[in-house]
Structure formats: structure tokens, C-alpha cells
């Protein structure tokens, strides 16, 4: 079933008004036929069809303005003998551009208000003089500024230091204590603290756990990676991310938010990928539309995201768009992770270490490389049965890695 969408006719075209349909339901259309006219700020355009088929349904009447990508009509391809030249199976015309609905408004995490600053009378002082005063342990209040508008300059500080030394004759100036390093983490630490405590306060967590045999998945991955140069090698974590995205198709209610006591399931699958920062602290920016990405695209997106996270170049959308978070502590040798959900999301998937463990199967005992996958979920939005369906689907996808 093909979809005919409002085409983008120019780099700066946001929307178009459908002026007139040139076809009606039941009409046969071929590649290259003009099936509608569209009005944009640049003028009237004849819009070309790209898929052979039969018009099933016109979804938008003449005269309405819709954003680029909106589905205008449905075409079916049955009843059409394939043309002599095979129709080029180029990408489906209808790109599933997520309808530009208003993203649900997410309340900003509370940040404690800044304490009011009492404003002492500001003494103008040159930066160099301020630094020198600190080095020489000279009190700024004690210096008379000789610069413009009474500004304090190096000369003033040097003179004050001389006077102080002469007056006190104390043994050597006091050692300037080492300025304590500013803890740049404090901002991030506060934000994490606020989110986590709100999560525990408001979200009734339930936890589910399952152990997944990773042999098939890892064998597949090792095979795939041998075909690729090391630069394009795919990490096991990427396989797990893709499996989570695919499993969510079975239980879409785990992919979304709980806001104003309403469960808001999201259509696009944006996985929050927990990345640890070397100096401590953790950020879980979103990888968008993981369900639409191939393994190679997902690996590239992950690599780009980690690099930009570590260099502090994240986009605001990546900080707020995650619809579910995945935390993978496999590197640190932890078997099981019972994670805390990032509000307002309604679920969090955790993966522990991939390790060799004894495995019993149809009466035989063997050794398999396994991983423990856990689901923390918000009991207001889903219940254990749906959670276990998700984990079961996750396991099934990892047993058929080729389809990921």
C-alpha cells in the first residue's frame, strides 16, 4: 500500500496547500503522472507521482494547507501489471516523517532557586591587579585606586604590599592557600540528584529480570565484524540497543511518558543511551528513531553521540527526547542492574556483563555466553505481564540477530 505525501519542493518549503486533485479514487496512476497541484510561497506547482498504482483514498481535501510529509492519498499497487522496465524500488516516497505534532510539554526538572546576592559596593580593579593582590595576599579593601574612576591597578597593589610588609615586619607574607578546584560536576550532580529523588518519590517501580543466551547474537556479530574494517566495527551494545527497539514494537506502552497522570505512548523510538563521563557523572542523551536505523547507522550514531557527549556538544533535543533509557554496565563486570527510571519516562532497560555461565538445555548441561537483562517499569503505566512480554520479545530478537 503506497502513500502519497506532500512533497518537499524546496529547501525552505515547510508546508503546501493542496489546490486541486487531478485524480480520483479508482484512477490508475503511473510513474511521472501529475496527480495534484500544490500552492507554495513560490507559486503553483504540478506534483508528480512516483509509484505505479491505483488511487484508493484521498485524505486531504482541496484548499487545506499541510506540512511537508503529510500523507495526502493512499495508493494500492494491486491490479497493476508490473511495467516492462522493473519499477525502480527506490525508497518509498512516503518518508515516515514523524507528524509535526506538538511534543508533549515536559515539566522542567526543579532547580533550587539561586540565593539572592547581596551587592557590595563594586570596586573597579584591573584583572591583573586582582590576580596580583590574591598572590600577594593583599586585602582589596585596604587599597586606594589611582586609575581612571579610582580603579585599582598593579602599581597600587604593589605599593599596598610594600606598606603592609613595612608595617607588620611579620615573617614573610602568609602562603596564599591553594584555591580549591571548582567542582564543575556540581551542576550535573544536582540535576541527577533532583531527577533520581523525584523518580523514587513518584514512580512505583516494578523490576523484572531475565537471562538471555547471547551465543547466536555474538556469533552473528563476530561474523559481521570480520566483513568490516575495524573503523566500522559494531559493538555488542549496539546490538542490544537494536533488540530493545525491535522488542518495543511488541509492547509500545513501555515507550513513552507519564505526565499529568496520563500515559502518553510515543510513536518514535528514541533510546536514551547512558554514557558515563570520565571525571564522573552520567548523561543519557537520546538516539532518535533507533527502530529505523540499520546496525551500521546505529553504530555511527552511537559513536557520534559518545564523542559529542564527552566534548559537551549535545543538542537540547538529545537531552529531552528519550522515550525510554537503556543502561549498559556490562563493561564493569556487574551481572545485574536494577536501574532507576528517568522521569517522565515509564521504563528503563538494564544490561549487565556478558559472561560465560553454566546453561541447561533439554537435559544437557553446557557453557554459554549470557547476559542478564532487567526491566524497571512504572506500575502506573504498565504491569508485570506487559513487562515480561517485552523481555521475552527482547530474548527472541537476540536469538535471530540477522533480522535486527
Amino acid at each position: 500500500m503506497g502513500e502519497f505525501c506532500m512533497p518537499s519542493l524546496g529547501a525552505d518549503m515547510e508546508a503546501g496547500t493542496l489546490v486541486e486533485w487531478m485524480v480520483k479514487p479508482g484512477d490508475r496512476v503511473r510513474r511521472g503522472d501529475i496527480i495534484a497541484t500544490v500552492e507554495t510561497q513560490k507559486g503553483l506547482f504540478e506534483v508528480e507521482n512516483y509509484e505505479n498504482g491505483v488511487v484508493q483514498e484521498l485524505l486531504v481535501q482541496a484548499g487545506t494547507e499541510v506540512p511537508v510529509g503529510t500523507v495526502l492519498a493512499r495508493l494500492s499497487s494491486e491490479g497493476m501489471a508490473p511495467p516492462a522496465a522493473p519499477s525502480v524500488p527506490g525508497p518509498a516516497v512516503a518518508v515516515a516523517v514523524p507528524a509535526a505534532t506538538e511534543p508533549a510539554v515536559k515539566p522542567a526538572p526543579e532547580v533550587p532557586p539561586l540565593p539572592p546576592v547581596s551587592a557590595p559596593k563594586r570596586v573597579p580593579i584591573s584583572p591583573s591587579a586582582r590576580k596580583l593582590a590574591a598572590e600577594l595576599g593583599v586585602e582589596l579593601g585596604a587599597i586606594r585606586g589611582g586609575g581612571p574612576h579610582g580603579a585599582i591597578e598593579r602599581a597600587d597593589v604593589e605599593r599596598a604590599a610594600q606598606e603592609k610588609k613595612a608595617a607588620v615586619q611579620a615573617p614573610g607574607p602568609p602562603a596564599a592557600e591553594k584555591p580549591h578546584p571548582v567542582d564543575y560536576q556540581s551542576g550535573m550532580r544536582q540535576a541527577i540528584a533532583a531527577a533520581m529523588s523525584r523518580s523514587n518519590r513518584e514512580i512505583p517501580h516494578y523490576y523484572l529480570e531475565t537471562t538471555i543466551d547471547m551465543s547466536a547474537a555474538l556469533r552473528f556479530l563476530e561474523g559481521e565484524n570480520l566483513k568490516r574494517s575495524i573503523k566500522d566495527r559494531i559493538l555488542p551494545a549496539v546490538l542490544l540497543l537494536k533488540a530493545v527497539a525491535r522488542a518495543l514494537a511488541q509492547t509500545p506502552e513501555l515507550n513513552g511518558f507519564w505526565i499529568d497522570n496520563r500515559h502518553q505512548v510515543q510513536e518514535s523510538v528514541n533510546l536514551g543511551f547512558a554514557i558515563s563521563l570520565r571525571q564522573g557523572g552520567l548523561i543519557a542523551p537520546a538516539i532518535h528513531n533507533v527502530d529505523l536505523l540499520s546496525l551500521d547507522e546505529l553504530m555511527a550514531a552511537t559513536r557520534d553521540l559518545i564523542t559529542r557527549t564527552r566534548s559537551g556538544h549535545l543538542r537540547s533535543s538529545e537531552m529531552t527526547d528519550a522515550t525510554i533509557t537503556v543502561t549498559n554496565l556490562g563493561d564493569l563486570g556487574v551481572d545485574t542492574v536494577y536501574g532507576v527510571i528517568y522521569p517522565p519516562q515509564v521504563a528503563l532497560v538494564g544490561f549487565g556483563r556478558i559472561s560465560e555461565r553454566p546453561w541447561a538445555e533439554n537435559g544437557m548441561l553446557g557453557v554459554r555466553r549470557v547476559v542478564t537483562a532487567t526491566l524497571s517499569a512504572d506500575h502506573r503505566a504498565t504491569d508485570g505481564h506487559r513487562g515480561s512480554l517485552f523481555l521475552e520479545a527482547l530474548n527472541r530478537h537476540l536469538q535471530n540477530p540477522e533480522q535486527l
Binding site: 584583572p127 589611582g146 598593579r154
Partner: protein
């Protein structure tokens, strides 16, 4: 003689001419192209006698088509030559700015690294000869804004003689600006003078109280100002930038860290000038070394007038430099 290098008297013009001549002799891919470079011997006589010595193939007079012969220089460079394009003055280079910006500076990056443009373009620049507004621009700062090209401003005979060869060896386009008032300037060159580095600025005069940062013809006004200030107990350091892109931040910042004051002298107009860029970099990277705001002495923001007294009033002068430094240093009352 304590084995000190044997020196010879010369002029800036002669040094430029020798630089071109040496390049033409050392590499047969090198050729000179521009208006009146051949039969006329060069508008500033920097290629006098070359037509006879090297012939019309390598000393090419061009029609008055700055855009086309500059573009031809770019094409020839891509075709394996090492052209020296002479645009008579920066004032006429505005016609060729499209080729310089959209082709020369951009091709390597836009083609994903496929094509280099090993081209040198020389232009006269600056005011001071009563040539009035259309022939007295100082637009090096514009070109120093463009990623993909290098911009040089030789102030001394040594640099006028030695920068060209290093520029010709550079795989990327290099622009060399020669202030027209410098051509008759006398100076000394060692007999074995040759190629010089084009990456670093140079401290021309050491000092403790202020760093005067400048380039090209303004260098000599700054040195004159420094002498006057010395007599009044103010020790001024003078830095010759030599390269306007990339700027040698290290030398600039090291100097400011010593003197805690910076004055930039730039013949361009103040707004959006190269001086503005240098001032911003000092504020960004040496803020805690500053004991006074960074000052700038630039040309007055007027079209350059013809009358001599008016033109001199518009241009940076040693006196204005001295006044600015005094303000910064004696601000202490």
C-alpha cells in the same frame, strides 16, 4: 670583522624584485602575470628588466581583467604551474574577490581534499600618497577573515626579499600585501639573504610597560613612537605581526603577559578591523594579564581624502600612538 654576516644596502622595492627574480630562476613553473608587469616593468618597478631576462611567456602582461587573470592564475596553479599574480593594488582586487574567495580559498575544502591551489597573489596596499579614496584602501583585514588562504604583510626588506619563496612552496593560496609607501624605503640585507619563515610574528623592540602590536608600514610609526616614549621613561615593546592569517597568538599573548598593556596599530578602519580581532583574542586569552583596557589606533572611519593634511590626519601617526600609550600608562596620575 668578527665573521658577522656581510651586509649590503638595498631598498624594499629592490628586495621585492630580487625575491621574484630568484623564484623565476629557481623554478621554471614560476611565472609572473599581471597588468604592466612586462613592458612597463611593473607599476612599482618591481619587475623592471624581467621581460628581457625571462621572455613574454613567463612575464605576462594582462588585459585590464582582474577577475579573469586572477582566475587564470588559480587555474594555472591547478594545472601544475606556480604562478605569481600581481594585482596592481588592493583597490582593484575587489573585482577579483569572487575568484579569490569562491574558488582559490574554497576549492580544496569543497572538493573534499581533491584539488590544491598553490598560488601567490601580490598586491600593493595602504594610503599616504594623496591618491584619494579609491586608490588608498587598506583591506588586508578583509582577506585575513577568509579561511583557506594565508595573508602576509612584509614590513622589512628582509621579509620583502624572503617571504615570496616560502609562499610559493606552500600548497595553499598565499596573499602578500606590500604597503606602497614602503617601496622606496632603504634598508640592509645580508648578502646570503633567502627564504624566511611565514608563521611567526617578531618582537622588533623589547619593552616592559606596553606591547605595541602592528604590521607593514605602521611598524615604523610604532618604532618612532617607542623612541619618543623611551625618552619619557616609558619602555614600549613593538611587535611586527608579519602574518595576518594565521595570527601568531603565542607571540602576542607572551608579550602582553610581560607588559600587561596592549595597543594595536592598524591602518584599516576600526570597525570590524584586524585590530578588533586581535583585541578580542587578547581579552579572551590574556584577560587576567591586563592592567588596562586594550587600545587601538586605526585610520579615521572616512573615505581617504586627497588633501595631504587631511590624509595625514586620517592615518595613524607616531604622535597618536604616543598619546594613546601615555593615556594607558600615565592613567595612574
Amino acid at each position: 670583522m668578527n665573521g658577522e654576516e656581510q651586509k649590503v644596502r638595498t631598498t624594499y622595492r629592490e628586495a621585492v624584485r630580487e625575491g621574484i627574480r630568484e623564484a623565476l630562476k629557481k623554478d621554471e613553473r614560476v611565472f609572473l602575470m599581471g597588468e604592466d608587469v612586462g613592458h612597463y616593468g611593473g607599476c612599482y618597478a618591481t619587475s623592471k628588466g624581467f621581460l628581457q631576462e625571462f621572455g613574454p611567456e613567463r612575464i605576462r602582461d594582462t588585459p585590464m581583467s582582474e577577475l579573469a587573470f586572477t582566475g587564470a592564475g588559480i587555474g594555472a596553479a591547478m594545472g601544475g604551474m606556480r604562478p605569481i599574480v600581481e594585482i596592481m593594488t588592493v583597490n582593484f582586487s575587489l573585482l577579483a574577490l569572487d575568484q579569490i574567495l569562491n574558488n582559490a580559498a574554497t576549492l580544496l575544502h569543497m572538493s573534499g581534499g581533491l584539488f590544491n591551489v598553490p598560488l601567490v597573489i601580490r598586491m600593493a596596499t595602504g594610503a599616504g600618497r594623496q591618491l584619494a579614496a579609491q586608490h588608498a584602501h587598506s583591506l588586508e583585514g578583509w582577506y585575513a577573515h577568509i579561511p583557506g588562504i594565508r595573508v602576509l604583510a612584509p614590513a622589512t626588506c628582509e621579509d620583502a626579499r624572503g617571504m615570496l619563496w616560502t609562499a610559493l612552496e606552500d600548497p595553499d593560496p598565499v596573499l602578500i600585501f606590500e604597503n606602497q609607501t614602503l617601496y622606496p624605503m632603504e634598508g640592509e640585507l645580508s648578502v646570503s639573504a633567502g627564504a624566511v619563515d611565514i608563521e611567526h610574528a617578531r618582537v622588533q623592540r623589547e619593552g616592559r610597560d606596553v606591547s605595541i602590536i602592528t604590521y607593514s608600514a605602521s611598524l615604523y610609526k610604532a618604532l618612532a613612537a617607542a623612541e619618543t616614549l623611551a625618552a619619557e621613561g616609558v619602555s614600549a615593546e613593538v611587535i611586527d605581526l608579519r602574518t595576518l592569517r594565521p595570527l601568531d597568538d603565542a607571540t602576542i599573548l607572551a608579550s602582553v603577559a610581560r607588559t600587561h598593556r596592549a595597543l594595536i596599530v592598524d591602518e584599516g578602519w576600526r570597525s570590524g578591523s584586524l585590530a578588533a580581532e586581535i583585541s578580542a583574542r587578547i581579552m579572551e586569552q590574556a584577560f587576567y594579564e591586563l592592567d588596562a583596557p586594550v587600545e587601538r589606533v586605526c585610520s579615521a572611519e572616512v573615505p581617504m581624502p586627497y588633501a595631504r593634511h587631511m590624509e595625514q590626519a586620517a592615518l595613524p601617526q607616531a604622535e597618536t600612538i604616543v598619546a594613546a600609550v601615555k593615556r594607558m600608562v600615565h592613567a595612574n596620575g
